[in-house]
């Protein structure tokens, strides 16, 4: 569908990424590099939680950028750049998950430590003299990761985009192919599922409360688990 001039003007004026993408459309390699720089970490973060493996997430992120690059000559600013980028990434992640569901990883004989890092010690846990608060946070971190893993693919993606990317409902809707109302309902269900999974921590209250006090800093990078 053709994009109206008003929409193009709106996004060109309001979104610096769109302006960069327009330069990429004109074969400006530096602009492409800047776009990659600006979004690589965020994309890898979201994809890591979507597909469960950092290495794969990085491959998919790279593929998403390559698709952006391949489609550059057809690009028209009909939405925020990040909405487009995460739509591509989400499709790639879903394809990958469907593909991997078909061909499960096969291990020989006794399984080695989990590739996802589940068996790897948490860096924070490595210290025997760990302060209680970091230990609490480590425990909570594991619980939150487990809770996120229980969500459906769509719920998980909606939560990640809302939480990590601060996306509006309408933008999340564009990525997932839903209406804003659908996203509202999806997120409410996701939050209820999370509440149930995290109930012991929420009821105890102190772990979450201390997080708020300390600014909720992550204690380690996800990649270290892998």
């Amino acid at each position: 569908m053709a994009t109206s001039d008003t929409t193009i003007r709106h996004y060109t004026e309001s979104d610096p990424d769109v302006r960069l993408m327009l330069r990429v459309r004109d074969d400006d390699a530096a602009a492409f590099g800047e776009l990659v720089d600006r979004h690589q970490d965020r994309l890898v973060s979201v994809l890591t939680y979507q597909v469960g493996r950092r290495e794969l997430a990085e491959e998919l992120a790279q593929e998403a950028f390559l698709r952006v690059y391949k489609a550059r000559h057809r690009y028209e600013p009909g939405a925020k750049f990040t909405t487009w980028l995460f739509t591509i990434a989400n499709n790639l992640a879903l394809n990958s998950l469907r593909g991997s569901a078909r061909k499960r990883e096969v291990r020989l004989a006794a399984p080695s430590p989990d590739q996802t890092g589940a068996g790897a010690p948490h860096p924070a846990a490595a210290s025997s003299a760990m302060p209680t608060r970091i230990a609490d946070r480590t425990e909570l971190c594991d619980a939150v990761q487990a809770a996120i893993a229980t969500l459906s693919e769509r719920q998980r993606t909606a939560v990640l985009l809302a939480k990590f990317e601060n996306m509006e409902y309408a933008e999340i809707g564009e990525v997932l192919g839903l209406t804003a109302k659908g996203v509202k309902s999806l997120l409410a269900r996701a939050r209820e599922n999370l509440r149930q999974a995290l109930n012991p921590y929420i009821e105890r209250g102190d772990a979450v409360g201390s997080l708020n006090d300390a600014g909720g800093m992550p204690t380690h990078a996800l990649g270290d688990d892998e």
């Binding site: 390699a29 990659v36 790279q62 990883e105 608060r133 409410a188 992550p218």
Partner: protein, 529 residues
């Protein structure tokens, strides 16, 4: 019933959806008023809202990933290759217009083959079948083509000689044995592996299975092509030696090599192999590195070294004072003093880089050394640093293995010697230790540390007081300026908040009385600028 109650409780979306939308700042002003009105009266709704908010806040603990350092470079490289391929494909499409029946036949054959494969092969059987390829996929991937491997063996074997060790020869033999074995024999071989060996094999297998089907097929094809050659043993050994050589290079370089045409790649490795080989000889083991680090600490804590640092700062101060104002000179001198106090190794590194002829590549001290000839007293300073640097190297040599010391002494020129030392010094930098260093921070220091600007935060992490993480110094001018970003009035403001605060939030509150502004959400990411 009260209109506010009606809005929430009778909302077709359900009460949680309205509360969630309220927390996400997705309600209109009118809807917000309704929610707040209810919150003001109804403790149960307040509690519900608080629970939902706590759950959402708990997600802040989720770690964020960072793309690998070479991500941008490799993505751009791949994009460039894609663009070239697209051009080539376009030309090829114009040349070859296959008739419809030919395309249909080929597709039919492929579909038939895929069906047969799907029926005939189970995942386990495939894993066992692909074992020889999976185990040596990294070598096959680095080599890329039989043509390149043949040229490497025929005309450029000397380039990889230094990397052809007993280990590569043993691996080549094992490669041959596993390839020649039956599936049953492979099961037997796996059963005899130690747990550590099995973990390695499984990791290789998982890595192979994580590749796309096309990539796996291309690796299998290459493996079969190699197996069909009369000099298969020689080719496998060369592939493994080549992998050992390039595996040490940065990922970007490896990626570039893989994408180069065979001739260009051979020319490049012919030119660079001696240096890579020397770098490999200079690689220090964990314990050797620990000894070297201790020696650097002893050197940089010694009185003569620190005196040299003071002399350098004083010379810089005088030079700046002559060119500008005294206050500026004081500020510059103070900056250098602090930098040297924080990271005493800077002087050694800067002197080494300067003597190696790469003075302008790193921080300001190196750049200053490079320009020293143009300022009063600069030449004398350079000469003095040069002479002291020789003493420093002699002192450091005592901690290094004999082979490495010999390499330093055998270097014909002074700058070559400095390049060797520079290579050794770079090994002492631990680039990816931030998470570990962070996890070691004492909780009493955590809150104050998190409020610091990025550069100070990183410096603190790299300081020995916080667990000995030896991080590379930050690039000067990178990240927010110390004390925050400058405001229009010249005062410092906190670094930019790119978090949720930037968006419209709910007008109501949770922790305070109902109707008050919500608790401010502080940024929760480590600034990775």
């Amino acid at each position: 019933m009260n209109p506010a109650n009606e809005t929430i409780e009778d909302d077709a979306d359900g009460p949680d959806e309205v509360l969630v939308a309220y927390l996400d700042g997705q309600l209109s002003a009118e809807e917000c008023e309704c929610v707040e009105s209810l919150l003001a009266r109804d403790a149960t709704t307040r509690q519900r809202l608080q629970t939902l908010d706590r759950v959402w806040n708990a997600l802040d603990v989720l770690p964020r990933s960072t793309a690998s350092p070479t991500f941008t470079r490799t993505t751009i490289d791949m994009a460039a290759v894609t663009a070239e391929q697209a051009q080539g494909d376009k030309r090829a499409r114009l040349r070859w217009r296959l008739p419809f029946w030919a395309v249909a036949s080929v597709l039919g054959v492929i579909a038939g083959a895929m069906l047969t494969l799907a029926v005939a092969t189970s995942p386990e059987r495939r894993a066992v079948r692909d074992l020889p390829v999976a185990l040596h996929a990294p070598a096959l991937e680095q080599v890329g083509s039989l043509d390149f491997l043949n040229q490497l063996v025929d005309g450029h074997a000397a380039t990889i000689e230094a990397f052809d060790s007993d280990a590569t020869r043993a691996a080549a033999t094992e490669w041959a044995e596993v390839t020649a074995s039956t599936p049953q024999q492979r099961h037997g071989w796996v059963a005899e592996l130690s747990p550590a060996e099995l973990a390695t094999v499984n990791a290789r297998l998982a890595e192979y299975q994580g590749r796309t089907d096309e990539k796996q097929a291309s690796l299998r094809r290459l493996s079969e092509e190699i197996a069909a050659q009369p000099n298969v043993a020689e080719l496998r050994e060369a592939a493994l030696a080549y992998e050992a050589m390039v595996d040490r290079l940065p990922a970007t370089m490896q990626s570039s090599l893989r994408q180069m045409p065979a001739r260009q790649r051979l020319r490049l490795i012919e030119r660079e192999a001696p240096r890579w080989s020397r770098d490999a000889r200079l690689e220090l083991s964990g314990s050797e590195l620990a000894d070297f680090r201790k020696a650097i600490d002893r050197l940089t804590e010694s009185a003569p070294y620190q005196e040299t640092g003071k002399m350098v700062v004083q010379t810089i101060r005088v030079a700046v004072a002559r060119r500008g104002s005294e206050p500026l000179a004081d500020r510059v001198a103070e900056g250098f003093s602090k930098a040297l106090k924080r990271e005493p190794k800077l002087l050694l590194t800067a002197a080494t880089e300067q003597i190696a002829g790469r003075g302008d590549r790193r921080g300001p001290l190196e750049r200053w050394f490079a320009d020293a000839g143009r300022v009063p007293g600069g030449d004398e300073l350079k000469a003095s640093i040069d002479s002291r640097w020789r003493d420093w190297v002699t002192e450091l040599e005592a901690s290094l293995p004999a082979g490495v010391v010999q390499e330093i002494r055998d270097a014909e020129r002074h700058d070559e010697r400095a390049r060797i030392v520079s290579h050794l010094l770079r090994q002492t930098e631990v680039e990816d230790d931030l998470p570990t260093a962070f996890a070691r921070i004492d909780v009493s220091e955590l809150d104050s540390l998190l409020l610091k600007p990025t550069d100070e935060f990183r410096d603190e992490l790299s300081g020995r007081a916080l667990g000995g993480a030896d991080l590379p110094p930050p690039f000067w001018g990178e990240g927010p300026p110390p004390g925050g970003r400058p405001g229009r009035d010249g005062e410092r403001r906190p670094p930019f908040d790119r978090g949720r605060d930037s968006r419209r939030g709910p007008p109501g509150g949770l922790d305070g009385p109902p109707g008050f502004p919500p608790p401010r959400r502080e940024p929760r990411e480590i600034d990775r600028t």
